[in-house]
Symmetry: C2
Subunit: 210 residues, 2 copies
């Protein structure tokens, strides 16, 4: 049997990027897209688009382009986004509250199934999305009961590591960390850190070169 090649993280992240305009194209009824156009919409080079897609076989026809529906379906299959994933979130401040109401998550199959906080004033409160805030000592139980696979951290930085440990201990193998601190995990758990200021630095660079 042929082994699936190890695909580098930046390629995976770009595949997710490529899927955004493809979704919009399907809504607008366009059947085909050239790699040059997709590259332009995503802000990468056409050579990069072709190289990334070549990992997964021959999607496109030279001069004609890619079939939008087939390409999006393949990308979603590769990324595992053609299925639903149960998420939990820890830290129900402003950011946590904003994320559980985010339509993009649900639309892409990421469903918040539990929300936790340590503040007695917040525990038991029902949010607009329908979830009730649970105490952190129920993490293990609810992760198991709701088959939660991904944990989101939106706590203050000082407790983020402790929360990561609780999530890993509960069996979580993928963490999206919004706390402005690098959390350490075991080899078996993947962490993605979200740092908004990286995007600002890109903008500042452009302003500087105007």
């Amino acid at each position: 049997m042929a082994k699936t090649p190890k695909i580098p993280d930046p390629t995976i992240e770009r595949l997710a990027l490529y899927s955004r305009p493809l979704e919009a194209l399907i809504e607008s009824g366009s059947p085909l897209i050239l790699s040059e156009k997709l590259a332009e919409l995503c802000g990468v080079s056409p050579a990069q688009v072709r190289k990334d897609l070549a990992y997964f076989g021959e999607f496109g026809v030279r001069g004609v382009g890619y079939d939008v529906r087939t390409l999006l379906k393949e990308i979603k299959h590769i990324l595992g986004t053609d299925r639903q994933w149960a998420l939990c979130i820890v830290g129900m401040g402003n950011l946590g509250s904003a994320l559980v109401e985010n339509e993009n998550f649900r639309k892409r199959g990421y469903i918040f199934s539990a929300a936790f906080d340590s503040d007695p004033e917040k525990i038991g409160k029902e949010m607009p999305c329908g979830l009730t805030i649970e105490p952190v000592n129920r993490i293990k139980e609810l992760v198991r009961d709701f088959h939660i696979r991904i944990g989101v951290i939106t706590t203050p930085p000082l407790v983020a590591q402790q929360v990561a440990n609780l999530l890993i201990d509960a069996g979580i193998r993928a963490i999206l960390n919004f706390a402005p601190i690098r959390v350490r995990t075991t080899d078996r758990c993947t962490v993605e850190n979200v740092d908004f200021s990286v995007k600002l630095e890109n903008l500042a660079y452009h302003l500087g070169t105007l």
Copy 2:
């Protein structure tokens, strides 16, 4: 005079990424870092690190590594983050409220100087950071008075384009958009879209390959 080469956006974004562990290394007192180590901390290949840094001249010494302080100083200078930038933000829901209190922004020189909303119940409210929420019809006046260069959009998707137009009309040339919709701008205005779900797709891919 030598022309400064046009630096691609992904390189700029990676420079911002590289600066994060360098800041941590300075705090921990490490004077030198090898490209292999920096690459590992940032999740990119060592060849990519060397290629990105080579745009800006010779920073490193083969086998010895880069001087952490010099490298960070150079990166900050290139990115324009060795100075302060005034920001405004439009849409003071949960996400907007979370962003204005974010320590990472202020620490990196991004200072929120004005916050806007269209909701009469929110206008006039003072936030923990000290800013008072202003009506959107004051955008032009306050952008001018506070020398605001970057606009942040955290509105619902349906009004994001209208807000982008107001910001551009007020002279803003750089927009960070959190609304889950692509906003159109003129050639003179750069937009960075923030989409949290891209990071989730990376995590889902890793879970699928476990």
